[in-house]
Symmetry: C2
Subunit: 348 residues, 2 copies
């Protein structure tokens, strides 16, 4: 069965905007005016938190294994993750899109279906953006907005000595998932008759292609009256984020290797790929978990939470940021996270 | 004399962000937290106006004649223009940048020098963005924020019958400037020994390369207690904007050709290029003037303002949107403005 293909040039820019606008309903009280004017309007009684990400084809995603719907979902969710990392809830999203003629209206619809699914699940309104043709590759710029009472946002720079360092979920899976996708792509390139085999890799591949943001943690913290003293989301790898948090707070940190949360599948597949699971957990990136610090008095509240691991504590600045091995050996943390300027291609 | 060239890969993404951050100071009371955390924080006591533009190399700009500093300035200003078009003042700006390795740190600095000059002139704080490598071409995503008292923004959709249609400044010059730049580029391609000759084209070229937004109008309207009944900025050409305003307001319009403000240089150069100045004024685009409607009672206040032209009035929806020639002939307005999806290249 052939799939219908409508050319973007049949609609034109304004036609495409109308086409997208029809799918959108504003649900949040703070969304006053959406697509269709010179600017969108949101209302705020306190502080607005704003976060933005630029995603470029060939640098941040590879359409040969990333379905457009998943890509749209991920583009939205990674932005929401930054808003949660400020202790706020995302309420609005702007999406700007640069698309070349190789994309059809149906392809753009697929991308938006993922964006709108993420918006629905996270309670966010799509309020605007910009749409343009692109000469090379797909360009997605996503900007999310959240609202907090003035002064209640949680920054990276406010961790204090002896506070506990916590992380949600588990680490390293998204990176391992990317290695599996790259392996299957290479196999497919060598022999297009061999279909990608992703069986047994469900969790790690899903973590790469369809990450989720930590909405529940922010609800749980609020319900349990815990205010993190500092927070950051894990997008570039745990090591990189710990160093950011320490630098911003002018503090050091000790992280215990045996406390790092790693999923069993991540462990197994890492070993299959001859990768060290600990290194993947420390430097893998794209986990979109939340890394946060709490006062010691809050330890009892978090210790039995299956989704939260206490992985270390904040030290004085002079001690530096270190990982402590099971044998008690202290190793300085190094960020080997995502550095798009050094990355030559996705098959690194 | 050789100019120093520092590779972006020498700094890396975080190094580049630090490098940019050092140039920035926040001046507005509403700018609470800028670059360096998961999100920026702005405070608001009413409504936030948000506008975003995606600018792609080869589609929206051509670096062979657009200096990077001018490009940065323009990227910021065209966004500010959208905020003014909502009857608000821009206060914050996000800039996301995708740059390939062919750009040096010095080139990125040039671009930011233009962005920061625009911010300084318009009283805007650069509060964040994202920075990435790009495989192809330069990508700029700009998002501006303004604040208004709740309910005081001016939309496109609220024009009423018999109201007067006004436009600031003059029209068509930026389009004519682009034609001159394209002509000189063709000459240079054919014979690289011939230097571009832009003498006598100062105004039209400046309107293309270094547009300004209509800050003064918003101040003047406020000082003179005029609240436009509807407003839109002229980015895609007057005809296109009138049609947007009419469609959104469910109204028609009559525009008088002999009232269209056209600069003498625009007239002269249009004739030199065998272009019709009226068509350029109606469909040229990138003027970044403001098109707005006012109640008839405000006519006396605007009639002697040299920067404001009253070009027509709002009609009922059934009358449609028309231009009226000097001989009284009525011609339906057609948008032939910028449509990036139909545009094959800049040398159209």
């Amino acid at each position: 069965m052939e799939t219908a293909r409508t050319e973007l040039s049949d609609l034109g820019e304004f036609g495409l905007i109308d086409h997208i606008q029809k799918k959108i309903k504003l649900n949040n009280d703070t969304s006053i005016l959406g697509i269709g004017d010179d600017g969108a309007v949101i209302s705020s009684k306190g502080s607005s938190i704003i976060s933005t990400d630029l995603l470029l084809e060939g640098v941040h995603f590879d359409l040969s294994y990333c379905p457009l719907k998943h890509l749209g979902y991920k583009a939205a969710v990674v932005n929401f993750s930054d808003i949660y990392a400020m202790n706020a809830f995302p309420e609005q999203l702007l999406i700007s899109l640069g698309v070349s003629n190789r994309f059809s209206v149906e392809a753009v619809d697929e991308l938006y279906s993922g964006i709108l699914l993420a918006c629905e699940r996270y309670g966010v309104d799509l309020i605007g953006g910009d749409t343009s043709s692109s000469q090379n590759g797909l360009v997605i710029s996503a900007t999310a907005f959240g609202q907090v009472k003035e002064g209640t946002e949680v920054r990276r720079s406010t961790a204090k000595e002896k506070e506990l360092i916590c992380v949600t979920g588990d680490l390293g899976a998204a990176y391992i998932g990317l290695q599996i996708l790259n392996r299957e792509k290479r196999v497919f390139k060598e022999n297009p008759n061999i279909q990608p085999n992703l069986e047994g890799y469900d969790y790690v591949v899903e973590r790469q292609l369809k990450p989720e943001a930590q909405k529940e943690l922010i609800h749980w913290l609020s319900e349990n009256e815990i205010r993190p003293t500092a927070m950051i989301d894990v997008s570039d790898g745990l090591a990189s984020e710990i160093l950011h948090l320490c630098q911003s707070s002018k503090k050091g940190a000790s992280i215990y290797i045996d406390k790092l949360p790693i999923d069993q599948e991540t462990f197994r597949v890492a070993e299959e790929l001859n990768l060290d699971p600990i290194t993947c957990a420390l430097n893998g990136g794209e986990d979109y978990e939340l890394l946060f610090t709490i006062a010691q008095k809050d330890f009892e509240k978090v210790q039995n939470q299956s989704n939260i691991s206490v992985i270390g504590h904040i030290m004085d600045e002079g001690s530096g940021a270190n990982v402590i091995s099971q044998g008690g050996q202290q190793i300085p943390l190094q960020a080997q996270g995502w550095n798009a300027f050094l990355k030559k291609d996705l098959d690194k």
